[in-house]
């Protein structure tokens, strides 16, 4: 009798283990298929010409997407340039004054920002920047993306700063170092790997954003590096080309998807490398 209960239990246990494994693979399999599909469809389109030349006219074969690659890089640069100082500043303040009213407000806003649909971000920036300047622009797109990545960088920087021991800050201040030197030369370098990780994660998060760019960067069939003119971006190009009736354009959209996915993948690999290489154990 007793023997039987034990066997029953062991069978149940095995069943449970297999269920866990089943659901775990349910996560991995679609992702692998998705990646595989994008690679299969995209890789055929990719060649050097695709990366460095402008799109060909309708009906012609060949051509490339250099204008949206440049546009995406420009947008990311603007976003990083605008959001990193703000985010690091906010995280420093929260870390120094954890119970302060403003810190609580920042934390609340960060949580809210993460939940705001990106299309709404696009519309708000449209009203704030595009309308007054009477022009779609790379700047407006960069601002929208910058706000999208703010919460990610603030959160990861705050977590990193929490790990930097108070004793290091005191060691610096006890030497007579002013606060700004303590921050710039001691606290931030000690937390560099975490802050960089946050920035990289933020970039890979916004690299594929389409919605906030629809009303801001707008898209542009020509190569543009002027901050005050509309620019193209990979996700915008994918959106426009994949909904077009031309098979050649749809092929190009697959190629662009491949490049975008590879870019995000590489960013993630770099992030891991940064963590491993530069992390300081306390």
């Amino acid at each position: 009798m007793k023997e039987l209960t034990v066997k029953k239990r062991m069978a149940k246990d095995r069943l449970f283990h297999s269920l866990v494994l089943f659901f775990a693979s349910l996560v991995v399999i679609p992702l692998l298929f998705l990646l595989g599909y994008i690679f299969k469809k995209g890789i055929a389109v990719i060649n050097w010409d695709f990366i460095v030349s402008m799109p060909a006219g309708v009906g012609e074969s060949g051509g490339g997407i250099v204008h949206s690659l440049v546009g995406t890089l420009l947008l990311i640069l603007i976003a990083v340039f605008l959001s990193v100082p703000v985010a690091v500043g906010a995280a420093l303040f929260i870390n120094d004054h954890p119970k302060n009213r403003i810190s609580q407000l920042i934390r609340f806003t960060v949580d809210m920002l993460q939940g705001i649909p990106s299309i709404i971000m696009g519309i708000v920036i449209y009203i704030w920047i595009v309308l007054p300047m009477k022009n779609f622009s790379a700047l407006a797109g960069g601002v929208a993306l910058g706000i999208m990545m703010l919460p990610i960088i603030i959160k990861s920087t705050e977590e990193t700063l929490k790990m930097v021991p108070e004793s290091l800050k005191e060691a610096s201040l006890a030497l007579g170092a002013p606060y700004y030197k303590t921050v710039l030369r001691v606290i931030l370098p000690a937390g560099l790997s975490g802050i960089l990780t946050g920035i990289l994660l933020g970039v890979s998060r916004i690299a594929g954003e389409t919605a906030p760019l629809l009303f801001t960067a707008f898209g542009n069939p020509f190569l543009n590096t002027d901050l005050f003119k509309p620019v193209d971006a990979l996700p915008l190009l994918i959106y426009n080309y994949s909904t077009s009736p031309y098979p050649e354009w749809i092929r190009i959209a697959w190629g662009a998807s491949f490049i975008l996915v590879t870019f995000v993948l590489i960013l993630n690999l770099i992030t891991r490398w940064v963590v491993k290489k530069w992390q300081i154990k306390f």
Partner: protein, 254 residues
């Protein structure tokens, strides 16, 4: 007055509304080692942190003081805290070398962080002198440009002492500097202190009365935020005036 480096008058320290140090009057002698001894929670660390105004750093703790502290006759409340801390160095309980800096940069961190420029050979001399003072030179002279974090705990703590000494302070505050170290490293540091006092006045907080007895010239005994007794270490250990001091020394509490 000439042989006194610090004069403290009517010092009270508070955390918010809670009083941690009550009405302390004490003069610290130049080029002597003064131990501040007492059971845990007696306010000795708080007292020490008031002397270089590092208590102001943690805003959340809402620490504030009343009373006056004079460094060579100058009221430190009227000096900029940055200048106070350049003249009163501090070594903490746990070794805290800067993990992203080399040993060399750690020693001259005070100069680098304050933006004080010197010629390369001046810094070289300063690093060697400071490391020799704490007997670390021979151990690290071949790895000056490696990060300081591979050193043992005792070596790290001596590196932190070198960092404080390199600023050439008038006073150096040691907050239980050996409590995180093994006995051998502790003995090494204790041995150094008697040589160091030729260069600098030393105030050391310790809850280890044996340590206070071994190394200090003067001892102050703190209890529940008050300074109960202060005198030469010899007098305080052999013939304490206060009953509480005697009880502490005979191990009845602590």
């Amino acid at each position: 007055m000439a042989d006194k480096v610090l004069n403290i008058r009517g010092l009270n320290a508070f955390y918010g509304s809670k009083k941690a140090v009550a009405d302390v009057n004490i003069d610290f002698f130049k080029n002597k080692i003064t131990a501040i001894m007492g059971p845990s929670g007696c306010g000795k660390t708080t007292f020490l942190r008031c002397i270089n105004r590092i208590h102001e750093v943690n805003i959340e703790a809402r620490a504030r003081i009343e009373g006056d502290i004079f460094l060579n006759g100058e009221n430190i409340a009227k000096m900029h805290p940055i200048l106070v801390r350049r003249r009163i160095g501090m070594v903490f309980q746990k070794p805290n070398p800067f993990p992203h800096m080399t040993i060399y940069d750690n020693v001259i961190a005070g100069y680098r962080l304050n933006g004080i420029k010197k010629k390369k050979h001046e810094f070289d001399t300063l690093v060697e002198e400071s490391l020799r003072k704490i007997a670390l030179w021979d151990e690290v002279k071949d790895s000056l440009y490696d990060r300081g974090t591979f050193l043992s705990g005792g070596q790290q703590q001596r590196l932190c002492m070198a960092r404080a000494l390199a600023m050439n302070p008038d006073v150096i505050l040691l907050d239980e500097p050996t409590s995180a170290l093994d006995p051998i490293a502790t003995a090494k540091i204790e041995g150094l202190l008697s040589e160091l006092k030729e260069h600098v006045s030393i105030i050391i907080v310790t809850h280890n009365m044996a340590q206070a007895g071994r190394i200090s010239d003067y001892t102050a005994f703190f209890y529940l935020g008050e300074m109960l007794e202060y005198g030469t270490t010899e007098k305080l250990f052999t013939n304490p005036a206060h009953e509480k001091t005697e009880n502490f020394l005979t191990g009845q509490f602590g």
